[in-house]
């Protein structure tokens, strides 16, 4: 029968166990992951099982690294996300968190769009570091993602999106994440994509300011191919700020909505 060892097909005898493969191929491995789950006891392997062997304290060669990065994924997910192309409009608290989540998941192509540079008021909720202050968010985020998953094909655009350039900017992606701060920009992007690109999916966000209950943030499927995340009411305004916990909850909803769309789970 065939199994997959570090994502490569391997012909093995029926009845062979995970630990037997380990002793044959990587006896020093101290992490054994079978079909996305780290096992602590030996297990008999079955046809098409995915086994990953990792030796802690070593940096693997590039050709082994990608398989090890996604060893904890649900089997079958990686092959689908690798082919996906996602655009992210706005790289603030929502966009930088969504981009990092999708990069960790192994989404093949990410288009990162923002006109702005990193400033100190961003660091309370966005993925950037002190060393990024003053740099374009596109460049800073690209650098962060390369440190997490160097196999992502990252494209960047330093532009201010408006109805005149939205269609052209996102022509090569299937899914768009609306991650702006400004409500008018949010409405412009969603209106433009729904009206002019009805085949694309758009995952927008509205209402994640403050420290209100986490459980009021929801994902809803709305008109056309639109999904909207948030509580719908908590605006950022004087007296009500934006902070990492609730913004990253909303970003997590958006990233999971994107992942579910890629995997064909179109309902909420």
């Amino acid at each position: 029968m065939n199994i997959f060892l570090n994502e490569n097909s391997l012909s093995v005898d029926e009845g062979i166990t995970a630990y037997e493969i380990k002793s044959q191929h990587k006896p020093d491995a101290d992490v054994v992951i079978l079909n996305g789950f780290m096992i602590k006891q030996d297990a008999i392997l079955h046809a098409d099982d995915c086994l990953t062997l990792i030796q802690k304290g070593t940096v693997p060669e590039r050709d082994e690294l990608e398989a090890q990065l996604i060893a904890r994924h649900t089997p079958g997910v990686f092959q689908k996300v690798k082919r996906a192309r996602v655009g992210i409009a706005g790289l603030g608290g929502l966009g930088s968190n969504v981009a990092v989540s999708l990069a960790r998941t192994g989404v093949g192509k990410l288009l990162l769009v923002d006109f702005d540079v990193v400033d100190p008021s961003n660091l309370n909720r966005q993925q950037y570091f002190i060393s990024h202050l003053g740099r374009y968010k596109t460049d800073a985020l690209k650098e962060i993602i390369y440190q997490i998953n160097p196999f992502i094909d990252i494209h960047t655009r330093n532009i201010l999106l408006d109805p005149s350039n939205i269609v052209e900017c996102f022509k090569d992606v299937e899914i768009i994440v609306e991650a702006f701060d400004n409500p008018q920009c949010k409405a412009d992007l969603v209106n433009t994509i729904l009206a002019k690109c009805p085949d694309k999916y758009i995952v927008a966000a509205s209402g994640m300011a403050g420290y209100f209950s986490s459980n009021t943030i929801q994902t809803k499927k709305m008109m056309g191919n639109l999904y909207v995340v948030g509580d719908g009411v908590s605006a950022a305004q004087p007296g009500c700020g934006l902070m990492a916990p609730r913004v990253s909850i909303a970003a997590g909803h958006q990233a999971n909505a994107v992942l579910r769309i890629i995997l064909g789970e179109k309902n909420i």
Binding site: F180, D181, P183, K186, S206, A209, L226, S234, A236
Partner: protein
């Protein structure tokens, strides 16, 4: 007509602009769909008819 799934009665025909004023919504921060079709902002003077199904999403700031 149905607005976000709720039936609302109007005595006369209203435009989208008038509807937005009644609902206290800012035309620049919303998406409007009438009978499953997205309406561009420049067409908000469109008069709605009885039986129209209207969906409105209003965005608040933050991200």
């Amino acid at each position: 007509m149905q607005i976000n799934g709720k039936a609302i009665d109007f005595e006369t025909n209203v435009s989208i602009t008038e509807l937005l004023q009644q609902l206290k919504l800012d035309a620049d921060k919303i998406v409007v769909e009438v009978n499953m079709k997205i309406i561009p902002r420049e067409h908000y003077s469109l008069l709605l008819s009885g039986g129209d199904e209207v969906e409105i999403i209003s965005f608040v700031g933050g991200g």
